[in-house]
Homo-oligomer: 299 residues x 2
Protein backbone atom coordinates (compact mmCIF):
# COMPACT_ATOMS: atom_id res chain seq x y z
CA UNK A 1 0.00 0.00 0.00
CA UNK A 2 1.31 3.41 -0.98
CA UNK A 3 -1.84 5.51 -0.63
CA UNK A 4 -2.44 7.59 2.45
CA UNK A 5 -5.76 7.08 4.20
CA UNK A 6 -8.44 9.76 4.22
CA UNK A 7 -9.86 9.15 7.65
CA UNK A 8 -13.56 10.01 7.69
CA UNK A 9 -13.90 9.30 11.38
CA UNK A 10 -11.11 11.71 12.31
CA UNK A 11 -12.37 14.48 10.02
CA UNK A 12 -15.92 13.92 11.31
CA UNK A 13 -14.77 14.24 14.89
CA UNK A 14 -13.21 17.63 14.18
CA UNK A 15 -16.37 18.90 12.51
CA UNK A 16 -18.51 17.59 15.37
CA UNK A 17 -16.52 19.65 17.88
CA UNK A 18 -17.72 22.75 16.04
CA UNK A 19 -21.28 21.46 15.83
CA UNK A 20 -21.31 20.72 19.55
CA UNK A 21 -20.38 24.27 20.44
CA UNK A 22 -23.08 25.63 18.11
CA UNK A 23 -25.58 23.40 19.94
CA UNK A 24 -24.36 24.83 23.26
CA UNK A 25 -24.79 28.39 22.05
CA UNK A 26 -28.35 27.59 20.94
CA UNK A 27 -29.15 25.93 24.23
CA UNK A 28 -28.02 29.04 26.06
CA UNK A 29 -30.84 30.73 24.14
CA UNK A 30 -33.23 27.95 25.23
CA UNK A 31 -33.29 26.43 21.75
CA UNK A 32 -32.45 22.75 21.54
CA UNK A 33 -32.00 21.54 17.95
CA UNK A 34 -34.35 18.63 17.28
CA UNK A 35 -34.35 15.89 14.64
CA UNK A 36 -37.42 13.80 13.86
CA UNK A 37 -36.78 10.47 12.17
CA UNK A 38 -39.41 8.29 10.56
CA UNK A 39 -38.53 4.62 10.34
CA UNK A 40 -41.06 2.41 8.60
CA UNK A 41 -40.78 -1.36 9.13
CA UNK A 42 -37.60 -2.72 10.59
CA UNK A 43 -35.10 -3.66 7.93
CA UNK A 44 -31.90 -4.36 9.94
CA UNK A 45 -29.72 -1.99 7.87
CA UNK A 46 -32.22 0.87 8.30
CA UNK A 47 -32.47 0.20 12.04
CA UNK A 48 -28.73 0.35 12.41
CA UNK A 49 -28.50 3.64 10.44
CA UNK A 50 -31.25 5.14 12.59
CA UNK A 51 -29.48 4.03 15.77
CA UNK A 52 -26.28 5.67 14.58
CA UNK A 53 -28.16 8.92 13.94
CA UNK A 54 -29.81 8.80 17.38
CA UNK A 55 -26.42 8.18 18.99
CA UNK A 56 -24.86 11.12 17.13
CA UNK A 57 -27.71 13.39 18.27
CA UNK A 58 -27.31 12.29 21.88
CA UNK A 59 -23.57 12.96 21.88
CA UNK A 60 -24.02 16.43 20.44
CA UNK A 61 -26.90 17.47 22.68
CA UNK A 62 -29.45 17.40 19.85
CA UNK A 63 -32.96 16.27 20.73
CA UNK A 64 -34.12 13.34 18.63
CA UNK A 65 -37.40 11.57 18.28
CA UNK A 66 -37.95 8.48 16.16
CA UNK A 67 -41.36 7.42 14.93
CA UNK A 68 -41.13 3.66 14.42
CA UNK A 69 -44.06 2.79 12.18
CA UNK A 70 -45.21 -0.63 11.07
CA UNK A 71 -44.70 -1.84 7.50
CA UNK A 72 -48.45 -1.57 6.93
CA UNK A 73 -48.67 2.13 7.89
CA UNK A 74 -50.94 4.10 5.56
CA UNK A 75 -49.72 6.94 3.40
CA UNK A 76 -52.05 9.36 5.20
CA UNK A 77 -50.80 8.34 8.65
CA UNK A 78 -47.27 8.94 7.43
CA UNK A 79 -48.23 12.34 6.02
CA UNK A 80 -49.96 13.24 9.28
CA UNK A 81 -46.83 12.48 11.24
CA UNK A 82 -44.81 14.73 8.92
CA UNK A 83 -47.39 17.46 9.28
CA UNK A 84 -47.17 17.39 13.07
CA UNK A 85 -43.39 17.76 12.88
CA UNK A 86 -43.62 20.42 10.18
CA UNK A 87 -45.55 22.51 12.68
CA UNK A 88 -43.56 21.62 15.78
CA UNK A 89 -41.15 24.14 17.28
CA UNK A 90 -39.11 21.30 18.78
CA UNK A 91 -38.29 19.56 15.52
CA UNK A 92 -35.99 21.47 13.16
CA UNK A 93 -35.06 18.59 10.90
CA UNK A 94 -37.17 15.75 9.53
CA UNK A 95 -35.68 12.64 7.99
CA UNK A 96 -37.45 9.71 6.38
CA UNK A 97 -35.32 6.61 6.50
CA UNK A 98 -35.46 5.17 2.98
CA UNK A 99 -36.49 2.91 1.36
CA UNK A 100 -40.21 3.00 2.16
CA UNK A 101 -42.58 0.06 1.56
CA UNK A 102 -43.86 -0.14 -2.00
CA UNK A 103 -47.46 0.92 -1.16
CA UNK A 104 -46.15 4.33 -0.07
CA UNK A 105 -45.57 7.07 -2.65
CA UNK A 106 -42.02 8.03 -1.72
CA UNK A 107 -42.00 11.24 -3.78
CA UNK A 108 -45.20 12.48 -2.14
CA UNK A 109 -43.81 11.76 1.32
CA UNK A 110 -40.53 13.57 0.65
CA UNK A 111 -42.36 16.54 -0.85
CA UNK A 112 -44.60 16.76 2.22
CA UNK A 113 -41.62 17.76 4.36
CA UNK A 114 -41.33 21.51 4.84
CA UNK A 115 -38.27 22.40 2.70
CA UNK A 116 -36.88 24.38 5.66
CA UNK A 117 -36.84 21.17 7.72
CA UNK A 118 -35.67 18.86 4.94
CA UNK A 119 -32.21 18.28 6.44
CA UNK A 120 -31.70 15.26 4.20
CA UNK A 121 -31.85 17.58 1.18
CA UNK A 122 -34.09 15.28 -0.88
CA UNK A 123 -37.03 17.66 -1.45
CA UNK A 124 -36.92 18.72 -5.14
CA UNK A 125 -36.68 22.38 -4.11
CA UNK A 126 -33.49 21.64 -2.16
CA UNK A 127 -32.14 19.48 -4.99
CA UNK A 128 -32.83 22.34 -7.39
CA UNK A 129 -31.12 24.87 -5.13
CA UNK A 130 -28.13 22.56 -4.92
CA UNK A 131 -27.87 22.50 -8.72
CA UNK A 132 -28.27 26.24 -9.22
CA UNK A 133 -25.90 27.01 -6.37
CA UNK A 134 -28.45 28.67 -4.10
CA UNK A 135 -27.08 28.02 -0.64
CA UNK A 136 -30.30 28.86 1.19
CA UNK A 137 -31.32 25.22 0.65
CA UNK A 138 -30.02 22.01 2.21
CA UNK A 139 -27.62 19.93 0.15
CA UNK A 140 -27.95 16.16 0.59
CA UNK A 141 -25.72 14.78 3.34
CA UNK A 142 -23.60 12.16 1.60
CA UNK A 143 -22.57 14.42 -1.31
CA UNK A 144 -21.77 17.31 1.02
CA UNK A 145 -19.87 14.88 3.23
CA UNK A 146 -17.76 13.86 0.24
CA UNK A 147 -16.99 17.51 -0.53
CA UNK A 148 -15.98 18.18 3.10
CA UNK A 149 -13.81 15.07 3.08
CA UNK A 150 -11.97 16.34 -0.01
CA UNK A 151 -11.54 19.89 1.26
CA UNK A 152 -10.54 19.03 4.82
CA UNK A 153 -8.41 16.11 3.61
CA UNK A 154 -6.39 18.65 1.59
CA UNK A 155 -7.63 17.60 -1.85
CA UNK A 156 -9.27 20.72 -3.27
CA UNK A 157 -11.30 19.61 -6.31
CA UNK A 158 -10.94 22.98 -8.08
CA UNK A 159 -9.74 22.48 -11.65
CA UNK A 160 -9.41 18.73 -11.10
CA UNK A 161 -11.01 16.14 -13.32
CA UNK A 162 -13.46 14.46 -10.98
CA UNK A 163 -15.08 11.30 -12.24
CA UNK A 164 -18.19 10.11 -10.43
CA UNK A 165 -19.29 6.53 -11.03
CA UNK A 166 -23.00 6.28 -10.25
CA UNK A 167 -26.00 8.50 -10.91
CA UNK A 168 -28.30 7.90 -7.97
CA UNK A 169 -30.53 10.69 -6.70
CA UNK A 170 -28.94 10.33 -3.28
CA UNK A 171 -25.27 10.50 -4.25
CA UNK A 172 -24.12 10.70 -7.88
CA UNK A 173 -26.41 13.38 -9.24
CA UNK A 174 -26.32 15.86 -6.33
CA UNK A 175 -22.56 15.32 -5.91
CA UNK A 176 -22.02 16.29 -9.54
CA UNK A 177 -24.22 19.32 -8.87
CA UNK A 178 -22.08 20.38 -5.90
CA UNK A 179 -18.74 19.84 -7.60
CA UNK A 180 -19.43 21.85 -10.76
CA UNK A 181 -20.37 25.02 -8.87
CA UNK A 182 -18.24 28.08 -9.46
CA UNK A 183 -17.05 28.42 -5.89
CA UNK A 184 -14.13 27.56 -3.72
CA UNK A 185 -14.11 23.92 -2.67
CA UNK A 186 -15.86 22.95 -5.90
CA UNK A 187 -15.05 24.16 -9.41
CA UNK A 188 -14.17 20.70 -10.69
CA UNK A 189 -14.44 19.41 -14.24
CA UNK A 190 -16.95 16.63 -13.64
CA UNK A 191 -17.69 13.44 -15.55
CA UNK A 192 -20.63 11.24 -14.53
CA UNK A 193 -20.37 7.56 -15.52
CA UNK A 194 -23.00 4.87 -14.96
CA UNK A 195 -24.41 1.54 -16.10
CA UNK A 196 -24.75 2.75 -19.71
CA UNK A 197 -21.16 4.02 -19.92
CA UNK A 198 -19.06 2.18 -22.45
CA UNK A 199 -15.46 1.38 -21.55
CA UNK A 200 -15.76 2.63 -17.97
CA UNK A 201 -12.03 2.30 -17.29
CA UNK A 202 -11.21 4.81 -20.03
CA UNK A 203 -12.95 7.42 -17.88
CA UNK A 204 -11.90 6.31 -14.42
CA UNK A 205 -8.25 6.25 -15.54
CA UNK A 206 -8.48 9.96 -16.33
CA UNK A 207 -9.70 10.92 -12.88
CA UNK A 208 -7.61 13.11 -10.62
CA UNK A 209 -10.39 12.45 -8.13
CA UNK A 210 -12.40 9.27 -8.52
CA UNK A 211 -15.67 8.84 -6.62
CA UNK A 212 -17.24 5.40 -6.59
CA UNK A 213 -20.96 5.48 -5.83
CA UNK A 214 -22.50 2.75 -7.94
CA UNK A 215 -23.42 0.24 -5.26
CA UNK A 216 -21.39 -2.58 -6.83
CA UNK A 217 -18.98 -4.37 -4.52
CA UNK A 218 -15.28 -3.84 -5.24
CA UNK A 219 -15.78 -3.18 -8.94
CA UNK A 220 -13.23 -0.35 -9.11
CA UNK A 221 -9.91 -2.14 -9.19
CA UNK A 222 -6.37 -0.74 -9.13
CA UNK A 223 -5.94 -1.01 -12.91
CA UNK A 224 -8.87 1.41 -13.37
CA UNK A 225 -7.16 4.14 -11.35
CA UNK A 226 -4.67 6.77 -12.50
CA UNK A 227 -1.46 6.61 -10.44
CA UNK A 228 -1.61 9.38 -7.87
CA UNK A 229 -5.37 9.80 -7.93
CA UNK A 230 -7.54 10.50 -4.89
CA UNK A 231 -10.17 7.79 -4.48
CA UNK A 232 -13.39 8.26 -2.50
CA UNK A 233 -15.44 5.14 -1.92
CA UNK A 234 -19.11 5.86 -1.19
CA UNK A 235 -20.24 2.23 -1.49
CA UNK A 236 -21.39 0.00 1.34
CA UNK A 237 -22.10 -3.48 0.04
CA UNK A 238 -22.75 -6.77 1.76
CA UNK A 239 -20.81 -9.61 0.20
CA UNK A 240 -20.97 -13.24 1.23
CA UNK A 241 -17.91 -14.40 3.10
CA UNK A 242 -18.08 -17.74 4.89
CA UNK A 243 -14.89 -16.87 6.79
CA UNK A 244 -16.77 -14.13 8.65
CA UNK A 245 -18.86 -14.94 11.67
CA UNK A 246 -22.00 -13.38 10.17
CA UNK A 247 -21.44 -15.11 6.82
CA UNK A 248 -20.92 -11.78 5.06
CA UNK A 249 -18.71 -8.75 5.22
CA UNK A 250 -19.17 -5.08 4.37
CA UNK A 251 -17.14 -3.68 1.53
CA UNK A 252 -17.04 -0.59 -0.64
CA UNK A 253 -17.32 -0.11 -4.39
CA UNK A 254 -13.52 -0.02 -4.57
CA UNK A 255 -11.26 -3.05 -4.37
CA UNK A 256 -9.21 -1.53 -1.59
CA UNK A 257 -5.99 -3.55 -1.73
CA UNK A 258 -5.33 -3.09 -5.45
CA UNK A 259 -6.52 0.54 -5.40
CA UNK A 260 -4.31 1.49 -2.47
CA UNK A 261 -1.23 0.46 -4.45
CA UNK A 262 -1.98 3.00 -7.18
CA UNK A 263 -3.84 5.90 -5.57
CA UNK A 264 -2.18 8.74 -3.67
CA UNK A 265 -5.00 8.81 -1.14
CA UNK A 266 -8.04 6.67 -0.48
CA UNK A 267 -10.94 6.45 1.94
CA UNK A 268 -11.47 3.22 3.80
CA UNK A 269 -14.97 1.74 3.70
CA UNK A 270 -16.30 1.59 6.32
CA UNK A 271 -14.73 4.58 8.11
CA UNK A 272 -14.62 6.97 5.16
CA UNK A 273 -17.77 8.59 3.84
CA UNK A 274 -20.22 6.96 6.29
CA UNK A 275 -19.34 9.04 9.36
CA UNK A 276 -19.33 12.18 7.19
CA UNK A 277 -22.93 11.57 6.09
CA UNK A 278 -24.16 11.54 9.67
CA UNK A 279 -22.00 14.55 10.53
CA UNK A 280 -23.53 16.57 7.69
CA UNK A 281 -26.99 15.55 8.88
CA UNK A 282 -26.14 16.91 12.32
CA UNK A 283 -24.76 20.08 10.72
CA UNK A 284 -27.95 20.58 8.68
CA UNK A 285 -30.15 20.01 11.72
CA UNK A 286 -28.24 22.57 13.78
CA UNK A 287 -28.25 25.02 10.87
CA UNK A 288 -32.02 24.65 10.65
CA UNK A 289 -32.34 25.32 14.39
CA UNK A 290 -30.08 28.38 14.04
CA UNK A 291 -32.33 29.71 11.29
CA UNK A 292 -35.40 29.01 13.40
CA UNK A 293 -33.80 31.05 16.20
CA UNK A 294 -32.87 33.87 13.82
CA UNK A 295 -36.49 34.10 12.61
CA UNK A 296 -37.71 34.01 16.19
CA UNK A 297 -35.46 36.98 17.05
CA UNK A 298 -36.64 38.89 13.98
CA UNK A 299 -40.32 38.67 14.94
CA UNK B 1 -17.50 21.37 -45.28
CA UNK B 2 -18.19 17.70 -44.63
CA UNK B 3 -20.64 17.90 -41.73
CA UNK B 4 -24.35 17.58 -42.30
CA UNK B 5 -26.51 20.35 -40.87
CA UNK B 6 -28.86 19.76 -37.97
CA UNK B 7 -31.64 22.09 -38.97
CA UNK B 8 -33.34 23.45 -35.87
CA UNK B 9 -35.92 25.36 -37.87
CA UNK B 10 -37.05 22.25 -39.76
CA UNK B 11 -37.20 20.08 -36.64
CA UNK B 12 -39.05 22.86 -34.80
CA UNK B 13 -41.62 23.10 -37.55
CA UNK B 14 -42.41 19.40 -37.27
CA UNK B 15 -42.85 19.63 -33.52
CA UNK B 16 -45.03 22.72 -33.86
CA UNK B 17 -47.44 20.83 -36.12
CA UNK B 18 -48.10 18.49 -33.19
CA UNK B 19 -48.40 21.39 -30.75
CA UNK B 20 -50.89 23.14 -33.01
CA UNK B 21 -53.19 20.17 -33.08
CA UNK B 22 -53.02 19.87 -29.29
CA UNK B 23 -54.04 23.53 -29.08
CA UNK B 24 -56.98 22.81 -31.39
CA UNK B 25 -58.12 19.90 -29.23
CA UNK B 26 -57.99 22.11 -26.15
CA UNK B 27 -59.88 24.89 -27.88
CA UNK B 28 -62.64 22.44 -28.77
CA UNK B 29 -63.00 22.09 -24.99
CA UNK B 30 -63.09 25.87 -24.65
CA UNK B 31 -59.61 25.99 -23.18
CA UNK B 32 -57.15 28.31 -24.87
CA UNK B 33 -53.57 27.87 -23.64
CA UNK B 34 -52.22 31.18 -22.40
CA UNK B 35 -48.71 32.49 -21.83
CA UNK B 36 -47.96 35.54 -19.69
CA UNK B 37 -44.64 37.23 -20.33
CA UNK B 38 -43.05 39.84 -18.10
CA UNK B 39 -40.61 42.14 -19.81
CA UNK B 40 -38.87 44.67 -17.62
CA UNK B 41 -37.12 47.60 -19.33
CA UNK B 42 -36.46 47.38 -23.02
CA UNK B 43 -33.10 45.89 -23.78
CA UNK B 44 -33.22 45.32 -27.57
CA UNK B 45 -32.20 41.63 -27.35
CA UNK B 46 -34.90 40.94 -24.75
CA UNK B 47 -37.51 42.77 -26.85
CA UNK B 48 -36.64 40.72 -29.87
CA UNK B 49 -36.86 37.43 -27.92
CA UNK B 50 -40.23 38.46 -26.52
CA UNK B 51 -41.52 39.34 -29.99
CA UNK B 52 -40.43 35.95 -31.26
CA UNK B 53 -42.33 34.27 -28.43
CA UNK B 54 -45.45 36.35 -29.09
CA UNK B 55 -45.26 35.48 -32.79
CA UNK B 56 -44.92 31.76 -32.02
CA UNK B 57 -47.97 31.93 -29.74
CA UNK B 58 -50.01 33.70 -32.39
CA UNK B 59 -49.16 31.13 -35.03
CA UNK B 60 -50.10 28.23 -32.79
CA UNK B 61 -53.34 29.70 -31.48
CA UNK B 62 -51.94 30.27 -27.99
CA UNK B 63 -53.16 33.35 -26.12
CA UNK B 64 -50.31 35.60 -25.02
CA UNK B 65 -50.15 38.66 -22.84
CA UNK B 66 -47.00 40.69 -22.26
CA UNK B 67 -46.59 42.97 -19.28
CA UNK B 68 -44.09 45.60 -20.37
CA UNK B 69 -42.80 47.15 -17.16
CA UNK B 70 -40.47 50.08 -16.74
CA UNK B 71 -36.89 49.61 -15.56
CA UNK B 72 -37.82 51.26 -12.27
CA UNK B 73 -40.66 48.84 -11.46
CA UNK B 74 -40.65 47.83 -7.81
CA UNK B 75 -40.15 44.28 -6.63
CA UNK B 76 -43.61 44.26 -5.05
CA UNK B 77 -45.33 45.44 -8.26
CA UNK B 78 -43.56 42.66 -10.11
CA UNK B 79 -44.63 40.09 -7.51
CA UNK B 80 -48.21 41.38 -7.68
CA UNK B 81 -48.30 40.87 -11.41
CA UNK B 82 -47.06 37.28 -10.97
CA UNK B 83 -49.68 36.70 -8.30
CA UNK B 84 -52.49 37.84 -10.59
CA UNK B 85 -51.33 35.44 -13.28
CA UNK B 86 -50.75 32.62 -10.77
CA UNK B 87 -54.47 32.87 -9.98
CA UNK B 88 -55.71 33.45 -13.51
CA UNK B 89 -57.47 30.64 -15.40
CA UNK B 90 -56.42 32.22 -18.68
CA UNK B 91 -52.69 32.07 -18.09
CA UNK B 92 -51.14 28.60 -17.95
CA UNK B 93 -47.53 29.60 -18.36
CA UNK B 94 -45.59 32.52 -16.88
CA UNK B 95 -42.25 33.63 -18.17
CA UNK B 96 -39.96 36.35 -16.84
CA UNK B 97 -37.66 37.63 -19.54
CA UNK B 98 -34.20 37.69 -17.96
CA UNK B 99 -32.06 39.48 -16.99
CA UNK B 100 -33.93 41.71 -14.53
CA UNK B 101 -32.65 45.12 -13.32
CA UNK B 102 -30.21 44.84 -10.43
CA UNK B 103 -32.61 46.25 -7.81
CA UNK B 104 -34.90 43.24 -8.31
CA UNK B 105 -34.20 39.99 -6.45
CA UNK B 106 -34.27 37.61 -9.39
CA UNK B 107 -34.44 34.44 -7.25
CA UNK B 108 -37.43 35.74 -5.31
CA UNK B 109 -39.25 36.65 -8.52
CA UNK B 110 -38.65 33.23 -10.09
CA UNK B 111 -39.70 31.48 -6.90
CA UNK B 112 -42.93 33.49 -6.79
CA UNK B 113 -44.16 31.77 -9.95
CA UNK B 114 -46.48 28.85 -9.23
CA UNK B 115 -44.32 25.81 -10.11
CA UNK B 116 -47.22 24.44 -12.20
CA UNK B 117 -47.06 27.57 -14.39
CA UNK B 118 -43.26 27.83 -14.50
CA UNK B 119 -42.98 26.86 -18.17
CA UNK B 120 -39.43 28.21 -18.31
CA UNK B 121 -38.42 25.55 -15.78
CA UNK B 122 -36.31 27.90 -13.65
CA UNK B 123 -38.12 27.49 -10.31
CA UNK B 124 -35.84 25.43 -8.03
CA UNK B 125 -38.54 22.81 -7.61
CA UNK B 126 -38.60 22.24 -11.37
CA UNK B 127 -34.80 22.27 -11.55
CA UNK B 128 -34.74 19.68 -8.77
CA UNK B 129 -37.31 17.50 -10.54
CA UNK B 130 -35.21 17.72 -13.69
CA UNK B 131 -32.18 16.42 -11.80
CA UNK B 132 -33.96 13.57 -10.03
CA UNK B 133 -35.81 12.59 -13.21
CA UNK B 134 -39.31 13.42 -11.94
CA UNK B 135 -41.18 14.27 -15.13
CA UNK B 136 -44.09 15.98 -13.39
CA UNK B 137 -42.02 19.17 -13.47
CA UNK B 138 -41.04 21.45 -16.35
CA UNK B 139 -37.53 21.08 -17.72
CA UNK B 140 -35.91 24.32 -18.92
CA UNK B 141 -36.55 25.05 -22.59
CA UNK B 142 -33.08 25.36 -24.10
CA UNK B 143 -31.74 22.11 -22.57
CA UNK B 144 -34.86 20.19 -23.54
CA UNK B 145 -34.62 21.74 -27.00
CA UNK B 146 -31.06 20.42 -27.31
CA UNK B 147 -32.22 16.93 -26.31
CA UNK B 148 -35.04 17.02 -28.86
CA UNK B 149 -32.63 18.21 -31.51
CA UNK B 150 -30.35 15.25 -30.84
CA UNK B 151 -33.12 12.66 -30.73
CA UNK B 152 -35.07 13.91 -33.74
CA UNK B 153 -31.86 14.62 -35.63
CA UNK B 154 -31.04 10.91 -35.28
CA UNK B 155 -28.21 11.31 -32.76
CA UNK B 156 -29.35 9.35 -29.72
CA UNK B 157 -27.05 10.34 -26.84
CA UNK B 158 -27.42 6.98 -25.07
CA UNK B 159 -24.00 5.57 -24.18
CA UNK B 160 -22.27 8.47 -25.93
CA UNK B 161 -19.67 10.66 -24.29
CA UNK B 162 -21.36 14.04 -24.24
CA UNK B 163 -19.17 16.97 -23.29
CA UNK B 164 -20.93 20.18 -22.27
CA UNK B 165 -18.86 23.35 -22.24
CA UNK B 166 -20.53 25.84 -19.90
CA UNK B 167 -22.22 25.53 -16.50
CA UNK B 168 -24.92 28.19 -16.54
CA UNK B 169 -28.13 27.65 -14.63
CA UNK B 170 -30.05 28.15 -17.86
CA UNK B 171 -28.21 25.71 -20.11
CA UNK B 172 -25.16 23.76 -18.94
CA UNK B 173 -26.31 22.50 -15.55
CA UNK B 174 -29.88 21.47 -16.45
CA UNK B 175 -28.68 19.97 -19.75
CA UNK B 176 -26.23 17.76 -17.86
CA UNK B 177 -29.13 16.83 -15.55
CA UNK B 178 -31.30 15.79 -18.51
CA UNK B 179 -28.61 13.84 -20.33
CA UNK B 180 -27.49 11.65 -17.41
CA UNK B 181 -31.00 10.32 -16.71
CA UNK B 182 -31.52 6.59 -17.06
CA UNK B 183 -34.08 6.81 -19.84
CA UNK B 184 -34.34 6.57 -23.56
CA UNK B 185 -33.14 9.71 -25.32
CA UNK B 186 -30.68 10.41 -22.50
CA UNK B 187 -28.39 7.90 -20.78
CA UNK B 188 -25.20 9.69 -21.87
CA UNK B 189 -21.86 9.70 -20.11
CA UNK B 190 -21.61 13.42 -19.39
CA UNK B 191 -18.63 15.69 -18.77
CA UNK B 192 -19.17 19.32 -17.77
CA UNK B 193 -16.31 21.72 -18.59
CA UNK B 194 -16.13 25.41 -17.73
CA UNK B 195 -13.89 28.39 -17.09
CA UNK B 196 -11.88 26.50 -14.45
CA UNK B 197 -11.24 23.49 -16.69
CA UNK B 198 -7.60 22.96 -17.49
CA UNK B 199 -6.69 21.90 -21.03
CA UNK B 200 -10.22 22.23 -22.38
CA UNK B 201 -9.36 20.66 -25.72
CA UNK B 202 -8.35 17.40 -24.04
CA UNK B 203 -11.99 17.02 -23.05
CA UNK B 204 -13.72 18.40 -26.13
CA UNK B 205 -11.64 16.09 -28.34
CA UNK B 206 -13.12 13.09 -26.55
CA UNK B 207 -16.72 14.11 -27.20
CA UNK B 208 -18.98 11.98 -29.37
CA UNK B 209 -21.45 14.81 -28.81
CA UNK B 210 -20.06 18.27 -28.06
CA UNK B 211 -22.36 20.97 -26.73
CA UNK B 212 -21.00 24.51 -26.62
CA UNK B 213 -22.84 26.73 -24.15
CA UNK B 214 -20.23 29.01 -22.67
CA UNK B 215 -21.22 32.32 -24.25
CA UNK B 216 -17.81 32.88 -25.84
CA UNK B 217 -17.81 33.69 -29.53
CA UNK B 218 -16.34 31.01 -31.80
CA UNK B 219 -14.00 29.59 -29.19
CA UNK B 220 -14.62 25.97 -30.14
CA UNK B 221 -12.48 25.50 -33.23
CA UNK B 222 -12.15 22.50 -35.54
CA UNK B 223 -8.95 21.26 -33.89
CA UNK B 224 -10.87 20.86 -30.60
CA UNK B 225 -13.37 18.45 -32.15
CA UNK B 226 -13.09 14.70 -32.61
CA UNK B 227 -13.56 13.72 -36.26
CA UNK B 228 -17.10 12.46 -36.70
CA UNK B 229 -18.52 14.19 -33.62
CA UNK B 230 -21.95 15.79 -33.40
CA UNK B 231 -21.64 19.48 -32.47
CA UNK B 232 -24.47 21.50 -30.93
CA UNK B 233 -23.88 25.22 -30.67
CA UNK B 234 -26.02 26.92 -28.02
CA UNK B 235 -24.19 30.24 -28.14
CA UNK B 236 -25.51 33.50 -29.51
CA UNK B 237 -22.84 36.17 -29.37
CA UNK B 238 -22.57 39.63 -30.86
CA UNK B 239 -19.18 40.25 -32.42
CA UNK B 240 -18.02 43.46 -34.03
CA UNK B 241 -17.84 43.26 -37.78
CA UNK B 242 -17.44 46.52 -39.74
CA UNK B 243 -18.33 44.68 -42.95
CA UNK B 244 -21.89 44.18 -41.65
CA UNK B 245 -24.46 46.93 -41.97
CA UNK B 246 -25.15 46.97 -38.21
CA UNK B 247 -21.45 46.93 -37.37
CA UNK B 248 -21.76 43.51 -35.72
CA UNK B 249 -22.83 40.00 -36.54
CA UNK B 250 -24.34 37.16 -34.51
CA UNK B 251 -22.25 34.08 -34.07
CA UNK B 252 -22.25 30.94 -31.98
CA UNK B 253 -19.71 29.52 -29.53
CA UNK B 254 -18.38 27.32 -32.33
CA UNK B 255 -16.14 28.47 -35.14
CA UNK B 256 -18.45 27.06 -37.78
CA UNK B 257 -16.18 26.82 -40.80
CA UNK B 258 -13.36 24.91 -39.14
CA UNK B 259 -15.76 22.77 -37.08
CA UNK B 260 -17.83 21.76 -40.10
CA UNK B 261 -14.74 20.25 -41.69
CA UNK B 262 -14.27 17.81 -38.81
CA UNK B 263 -17.70 17.10 -37.35
CA UNK B 264 -20.18 14.61 -38.77
CA UNK B 265 -23.07 16.90 -37.97
CA UNK B 266 -23.41 20.44 -36.67
CA UNK B 267 -26.11 22.96 -35.84
CA UNK B 268 -25.94 26.34 -37.49
CA UNK B 269 -26.20 29.37 -35.20
CA UNK B 270 -28.60 31.05 -35.66
CA UNK B 271 -31.10 28.44 -36.91
CA UNK B 272 -30.06 25.61 -34.61
CA UNK B 273 -30.96 25.65 -30.95
CA UNK B 274 -32.78 29.02 -30.93
CA UNK B 275 -35.99 27.89 -32.64
CA UNK B 276 -36.02 24.78 -30.46
CA UNK B 277 -36.03 26.88 -27.28
CA UNK B 278 -39.18 28.70 -28.32
CA UNK B 279 -40.78 25.46 -29.49
CA UNK B 280 -40.18 23.83 -26.11
CA UNK B 281 -41.67 26.90 -24.42
CA UNK B 282 -44.80 26.46 -26.53
CA UNK B 283 -44.84 22.75 -25.71
CA UNK B 284 -44.58 23.44 -21.96
CA UNK B 285 -47.34 26.06 -22.12
CA UNK B 286 -49.70 23.69 -23.91
CA UNK B 287 -48.79 20.87 -21.52
CA UNK B 288 -49.65 23.15 -18.62
CA UNK B 289 -53.01 23.98 -20.21
CA UNK B 290 -53.66 20.27 -20.77
CA UNK B 291 -53.00 19.60 -17.10
CA UNK B 292 -55.25 22.50 -16.12
CA UNK B 293 -58.00 20.93 -18.25
CA UNK B 294 -57.40 17.48 -16.73
CA UNK B 295 -57.76 18.90 -13.21
CA UNK B 296 -60.90 20.76 -14.27
CA UNK B 297 -62.43 17.54 -15.53
CA UNK B 298 -61.47 15.73 -12.34
CA UNK B 299 -63.30 18.18 -10.11
Amino acid sequence: MTASLIDGRKISKKIRVGIKSRVSRLREQKIRPGLGVILVASDPASCSYVSAKERACRRLGIFSETARLSASVSQSDLLNRIDVWNQSDKIHGILIQLPLPSHINQDAVIQAILPDKDVDGFHPINVGKTLIGDETGFAPCTPSGVCELLIRGGYDPSGKHTVIVGRSNIVGKPLAALLIQKKSGANATVTVCHSATKNMASYTRQADILIAAAGRAEFITGDMIKPGAVVIDVGTNHIEDPSCEKGYRLTGDVHFDSAAKVAAAITPSPGGVGPMTITMLMHNTVRSAEEFYRKLCAT
